[in-house]
């Protein structure tokens, strides 16, 4: 099964490579360079920013007296916030450089990002409170009825 999945993945990768080999020569050297930068930036963003931040947060939150599920919710909330922030980078850069016309990047992206982070944080906080409270109640009930023999 695992071997079959690996084989399928390798075939898919080879298929993508074959398609790009026919498409990429049509791009200008400048466009190829920008494509390379874009792909490399995605890896740097994932491996250099997203994953270390989540690992660090998970390690720190793991020391707090909260259930494991609450730590997971904090990490999840952080992941969503970072992801939406990453999506806002291209429009913010375009806005900074001056858009081609007023219908391009017409939103107040910093304000929208703030709104998303605020809603995200509020939901995470509410979920952590509920999970911790339920965990303590269950723990207290177990203690009252005595440890299982």
């Amino acid at each position: 099964m695992i071997r079959a999945v690996r084989g399928l993945l390798a075939l898919t990768a080879f298929g993508c490579f074959a398609v790009s080999a026919t498409v990429l020569p049509a791009l200008s050297p400048d466009a190829l360079l920008r494509l390379g930068v874009w792909l490399a930036a995605a890896i740097v963003l994932h491996d250099g920013v997203l994953v270390p931040t989540l690992q660090l947060t998970g390690a720190l939150a793991g020391r707090l007296p909260v259930p494991r599920a609450a730590v997971l919710v904090v990490e999840g909330g952080l992941l969503l916030g970072l992801l939406v922030s990453a999506l806002a980078i291209p429009p913010l850069v375009t806005q900074h450089n001056g858009p081609a016309n007023p219908s391009v990047v017409p939103q107040d992206y910093p304000a929208n990002l703030g709104l998303f982070w605020a809603a995200d944080a509020a939901l995470v906080l509410a979920a952590v409170v509920v999970i911790t409270w339920r965990g303590r109640r269950t723990g207290a009930r177990r203690t009252a009825s005595g440890p299982p023999s």
Partner: protein
């Protein structure tokens, strides 16, 4: 090599949690951007580069008339749409085009950038316009813009598009004359063609031999 199943991120993250987070992340990324194409998700559009309905006449613009360098030629009173077919040629002013039987179609501009917006277009069906110069038959049609350059100044349309009764030489958009940035004095609008091929600021339409 042993075929050991992956543990899904060590003992802190279960595989189910990992997949759940990946799914939530994908859904969120869709939710905060899809509003640029789906108006029902408009309120959740926080970071998309376009806003549905934002632009002249409620439609976003990719290339403006100024960027295309057609500000003068598109507003020139001497503008005529040249038609060439197997049965001769014609040149029609905007007033003459407006006097022909008009049709109205709701068709989307689907941009390769990722946004899509539907609009109501009014104009002369391309097939009936070209019937005056010998018709289309099974031939291709070449559309040329007033633009001096650019990769999409000229586009060629197969007979499956050109003879579709919904394909219009549009003169109006959402109940008003075409905005200059949407292709005034006349543009092509056809179903199921990408936005860059919906030639704006039309100058010349030829039925190819």
């Amino acid at each position: 090599m042993s075929a050991e199943p992956p543990t899904g991120g060590g003992d802190r993250f279960s595989r189910r949690a990992f997949l759940g987070l990946a799914g939530a992340a994908t859904a969120t990324a869709g939710l905060v951007t899809a509003g640029q194409s789906f108006e029902i998700l408009g309120p959740a559009n926080l970071v998309a580069p376009r806003v549905a309905g934002r632009g002249p006449q409620g439609l976003p613009v990719n290339k403006t008339a100024a960027a295309a360098g057609v500000l003068d030629s598109a507003t020139d009173a001497a503008w005529r749409l040249r038609l060439d077919g197997s049965d001769g040629s014609r040149a029609l002013s905007r007033a003459e085009l407006s006097a022909l039987p008009q049709d109205t179609q709701v068709l989307p501009i689907a941009c390769v950038e990722g946004w899509t917006t539907s609009a109501t277009w009014t104009g002369v069906p391309l097939a009936s316009l070209l019937a005056g110069v010998g018709g289309i038959g099974d031939r291709h049609v070449r559309l040329t813009s007033l633009e001096a350059g650019g990769a999409y100044r000229v586009s060629t349309m197969g007979p499956e598009f050109a003879t579709d009764p919904r394909t219009l030489v549009a003169l109006g958009l959402n109940g008003a004359p075409l905005d200059l940035d949407h292709g005034y004095p006349a543009r092509i609008i056809a179903p199921a063609r990408s936005g860059v091929l919906q030639t704006k600021w039309l100058a010349h339409i030829e039925v190819l031999p």
